[in-house]
Symmetry: C2
Subunit: 209 residues, 2 copies
């Protein structure tokens, strides 16, 4: 069956726990995780090459010039981008690559990789989503209101994703994402080589009878 690697793009509402889900998904199953590059300064505890590839502005801009990113964007004063080489190397080895990215970036990736699978992680309902934003305990009401506004806008983007997976229980969420990736591998459209071989093999067997 399908031997090609698959690019899996994961987005989700702010506060929905997508970072934790992606981390666990990659640990539990044999996926390659694409690490983004950025020019922003590392926060305490962040490790270069694990959390981000930390770059200077000059390095980043050179990579842009050399077409080194699948997609990149500038937020506030920092660059963020998805290095192309890692993704393409892993895909060519037949590995499934997980990429956690926000909505805009996901759309750019789908344009370039139409076979990419887009998964949006969501909460069981809006009340739960709001609770989780409050639950962090680190943000004031203004920040939460801003996040709710953003979440409200993101509901329109959900339909651009192929799948919606609810993060109610973390383990279930991780297994559900894995199920989606497995099922995608069974799609007939991803198994044209298998069908072609089956036809040729059957023709050979028949001619030998």
């Amino acid at each position: 069956m399908n031997k090609n690697g698959m690019l899996v793009v994961i987005s989700g509402f702010s506060g929905v726990g997508k970072g934790t889900a992606v981390k666990k998904l990659v640990e539990k199953y044999d996926y390659s995780l694409s690490v983004s590059a950025t020019t922003r300064a590392p926060r305490p505890g962040e490790v270069d090459g694990v959390d981000y590839h930390f770059k200077t502005v000059e390095e980043f801009e050179q990579l842009i010039d050399y077409n080194g990113f699948i997609e990149w964007a500038q937020y506030v004063e920092n660059y963020y981008g998805t290095p192309k080489k890692f993704v393409e190397d892993e895909l060519s080895k037949g590995k499934n690559v997980i990429l956690e990215i926000e909505v805009q970036g996901a759309m750019h990736i789908k344009e370039q990789y139409p076979d990419a699978v887009l998964i949006f992680i969501t909460a069981p309902d809006a009340a739960t989503l709001k609770e989780r934003l409050f639950g962090r305990g680190t943000e004031d009401e203004k920040v939460i209101a801003k996040r709710l506004k953003r979440a409200y806008e993101e509901t329109d983007d959900m339909s651009c994703y192929d799948y919606l997976v609810v993060n109610d229980d973390l383990d279930t969420c991780v297994d559900d994402i894995h199920s989606v990736i497995c099922a995608e591998n069974f799609k007939s459209s991803r198994n044209t080589d298998y069908m072609k071989n089956m036809k040729e093999e059957l023709a050979t067997i028949r001619s030998g009878m």
Copy 2:
């Protein structure tokens, strides 16, 4: 998330063990199995309502006149059909309905139920498929040659199915089919109500802040 029942159509190569896989799938997971109606005589051990709904020609033709079948066909001198009422009742209850049927019937169903999921059960390769046809020990070479011819023709139909699932190990095959059905339920296109509700709920929460 998606509360609607889904119609799952399962076909596969002759001798690939689809009957056994479907039986196990329905036993292991909570699916409703659609039982076909036929005018052919019951074989020893076959139970009315379990293996088939056995009908007289008159009964069957009346059901055709009353639009009682999703699809029906005549093979040799016997009628075979999928009773509509059971399928629609189960779907409206939110149950997933499994329907084992040959290629032609599957295409008719897809026309009427574009949301139906079509799964084709296949063998790891053509050599294994041939072995299984021989392995039954009940058929002579002529019958096997005829089946191989049919299998060869069916390779062209595979691409009309949404998914190809290999039956190498029976338990894996059954779990893979279940994964496909679960993943289909996560499709954003099957969760438009959920997205609409999420948007409305977020709007309500925001207006209350």
